[in-house]
């Protein structure tokens, strides 16, 4: 029998790996991947708790919503990264230090 705590521990580990990536990476795409890892940890939690809700299926349905939202996030982030690259010729978030009108 796989207990609920097993799922939660896997998801906590995934979340911490995402956190590490967001802190250390110097590349907007890798930071985006870190955010996706953290989102997936949250979705795993929702699915694991959704197992105990057969009638209303709250956990699974909101996991679906979170997956769709993550796709939308990635699309917008891609557009932003491409614009930033066009303007600065780099996607290191540490080197992007101007607002629109310099």
């Amino acid at each position: 029998m796989i207990t609920l705590t097993d799922f939660l521990i896997v998801s906590a580990a995934l979340f911490c790996i995402g956190l590490y990536m967001i802190i250390t990476k110097h590349n907007a795409i890798q930071i985006l991947i870190g955010i996706e890892l953290m989102l997936n940890a949250a979705i795993l939690n929702m699915v694991a708790f959704g197992k105990f809700d057969r009638i209303t299926n709250g956990g699974q349905i909101f996991a679906l919503f979170a997956i769709v939202l993550a796709a939308a996030t990635t699309a917008v982030a891609l557009a932003i990264i491409l614009n930033v690259y066009k303007k600065y010729r780099t996607i290191d978030p540490g080197k992007i230090n101007n607002l629109k009108d310099k």
Partner: protein
């Protein structure tokens, strides 16, 4: 130790190992493709949590959509991204990454502590769900119920998501368009 448990540990290992590789790899392309494996492993974990519909959605949207988008972002942002990566030729555990490693590890320790102290399996509503047979069993078909719930109980969030998706689409198109007569 039945086969479900063995599969769970295999999947959890695949997910965590590939996620660690993604975090540690110097090669961006390789780390993106390892991220692919992480997402597949997560779909396997969703199946083991008896959420087959979510698992299929994960494969369709994440592996089919999000990953291709990330690859696009990488390919379109050119050689500079690779140059940044090649500058940092240090080892995996270098001194300037130590605070981040410590922070993540301590956060993990705190979270595991909280999880074990809480004892998620003994929460009242979960015990009640198991007692009243409201937990999903291995032989249940959940997809019908998800469809009905999506169109009745969760109709408002569903519509809100659809509006938000449309806004994201318009916003992304606005950001990515070529400016005519730009400053």
């Amino acid at each position: 130790m039945n086969i479900g448990q063995v599969l769970f540990y295999v999947m959890a290992f695949v997910v965590l190992a590939s996620a660690l590789f993604v975090a540690g790899s110097k090669n961006l392309v390789r780390s993106i493709f390892m991220f692919f494996i992480t997402l597949f492993g997560l779909a396997g974990l969703y199946v083991l949590a008896l959420a087959d519909f979510v698992a299929v959605t994960q494969i369709v949207i994440y592996v089919g959509g999000v990953l291709v988008l990330i690859l696009f972002a990488f390919m379109l942002s050119g050689r500079e991204t690779l140059n940044i990566l090649q500058q940092q030729k240090s080892k995996f555990i270098s001194l300037n990454k130590l605070p981040a490693i410590l922070f993540a590890a301590l956060f993990f320790v705190v979270m595991v502590n909280v999880l074990i102290k809480t004892g998620a399996g003994n929460l009242p509503w979960i015990k009640q769900a198991v007692a009243t047979n409201a937990a999903i069993g291995p032989n249940d078909i959940t997809v019908n119920n998800i469809g009905i719930n999506l169109m009745t109980r969760y109709l408002l969030p569903f519509e809100a998501i659809s509006i938000l998706l449309m806004m994201a689409l318009v916003g992304a198109a606005h950001l990515a368009r070529k400016e005519r007569g730009a400053v």
